[in-house]
Symmetry: C2
Subunit: 264 residues, 2 copies
């Protein structure tokens, strides 16, 4: 259905994307064909897909009918509505839904990533992309971890924040400890990742465990001592002298790779 008026309220879901994240409005935004297809396939109920005629046609040809309204707009209208020139010409909005509980997210999981204090939306997105690519089954968010459903995280994750089971630990020290104890009682070997030279090599920390939960912290400060103390082992990726610790999503990717490798 062609919409020519940029003020049309049916376009409100994707209005001013560069000004507000729409999270406050309870929405999740997906951009581009691949990510929109992942939104459509996710548990989030899609309101609408908005795009150029050619982009909508290409979407249906590639992924089939999405089961939601599709609004056709021209390039100028889309730019006015979203607030910038959207080259890919396809954007979708969905409702946020109730988050999973920790128990739901880890159901059947063999490999889990736990994030403490990773506040950067791009890092969160990269981490989900890497986790999905290397067979991580769920991501748990501890204190200070940013919202993975922000538009930027959705985009950087290539939509994997929409697919990978994810739950948030309740706040507070006691609950954080209790959650890790719960994971341990479920048979998870808890590994914290740290640049500390006294930690064991990642390969040694991972070997021989059927269920592993890997915890990473914010770039810079890293994991807090109380978080690390609640894990079974501290693992490190050996770094050359005079260099800096790796980006958190990169370090996590290496750990996910090592986990996969330990199961070969």
């Amino acid at each position: 259905m062609l919409i020519a008026d940029p003020q049309d309220p049916r376009l409100d879901d994707v209005r001013d994307l560069n000004k507000s994240d729409k999270s406050g409005e309870g929405l999740v935004i997906a951009e581009g064909h691949l990510v929109v297809s992942r939104l459509v396939a996710s548990r989030f109920p899609v309101h609408c897909i908005v795009g150029f005629a050619s982009a909508l046609e290409h979407y249906v040809d590639t992924y089939g009918e999405p089961g939601c309204p599709m609004y056709e707009v021209d390039r100028e209208t889309l730019a006015q509505v979203v607030g910038f020139d959207m080259h890919r010409g396809l954007v979708a909005a969905a409702d946020r839904v109730a988050p999973l509980s920790v128990a739901e997210a880890i159901q059947g999981a063999k490999t889990i990533a736990i994030l403490e204090g990773v506040g950067d939306h791009e890092n969160i997105g990269s981490l989900f992309r890497n986790a999905a690519g290397m067979d991580v089954d769920a991501v748990l968010l501890g204190a200070g971890a940013a919202d993975p459903l922000y538009r930027r995280s959705v985009r950087v994750s290539m939509g994997h924040v929409l697919r990978l089971p994810c739950a948030r630990f309740d706040g507070g020290f006691t609950t954080w400890q209790r959650n890790l104890e719960l994971l341990a009682s479920e048979g998870f070997h808890l590994v914290s990742l740290t640049p500390d030279e006294n930690a064991v090599h990642l390969a040694e920390a991972m070997a021989g465990h059927s269920k592993v939960a890997l915890m990473v912290g914010a770039e810079g400060p890293g994991l807090t001592e109380h978080a690390m103390r609640a894990t079974h082992v501290r693992a490190r990726i050996p770094m050359a002298p005079g260099t800096d610790s790796l980006n958190v999503a990169t370090a996590a990717a290496i750990a996910f790779y090592e986990r996969q490798r330990s199961l070969l």
Copy 2:
């Protein structure tokens, strides 16, 4: 020395950083204390360091006298000169110098990264950061690889583009092949990284070689067939079904990690 006039020509080296990359002027720009210190320690001759009084003082306290002019400016002047508000309050400019030859760059090297067509400055920067952190001795740039000395690459690399030996293969198919043959004749085991499921696991491709050259290609297209054909083995990082190949700097980081691990 305090400079109060934003038009002072002594500040020209760091003028309008957001408009031009200064590469056209033959300059390399470093921002922030750590990266400036790496520029000062590099083979690039530093023209000047410009910064807030407190930032300059902190620099000298931490890294010692840099052996080049230091110009003190206030926050407003610096913002006017560089073209944006520079929170870290410290920036330095150096001359570009003649690039190393391939033979110079690989002198004594046991592990080399080769980039084909990695055109994104952020990816190039991340790749250097990861290479430096995990004991890669040199980076060689093939056809289409972006300039690692762009300001954005310098920043993302945390200054490691200024430290790690780097050379550019001459253009053209023949030379590219010849360069790889040269590396092979120097005893390097040539490994190309690909998502191709027929490739061998990265660990298998790396094991048992004293000298390894690892080749990666641009995100999206990956390595060209002719580049891969010139290597000894094609290696893959196993990916979960229905996911996307990793970011090139992330994939390279995993390969650098595996290389280090193979030498344990």
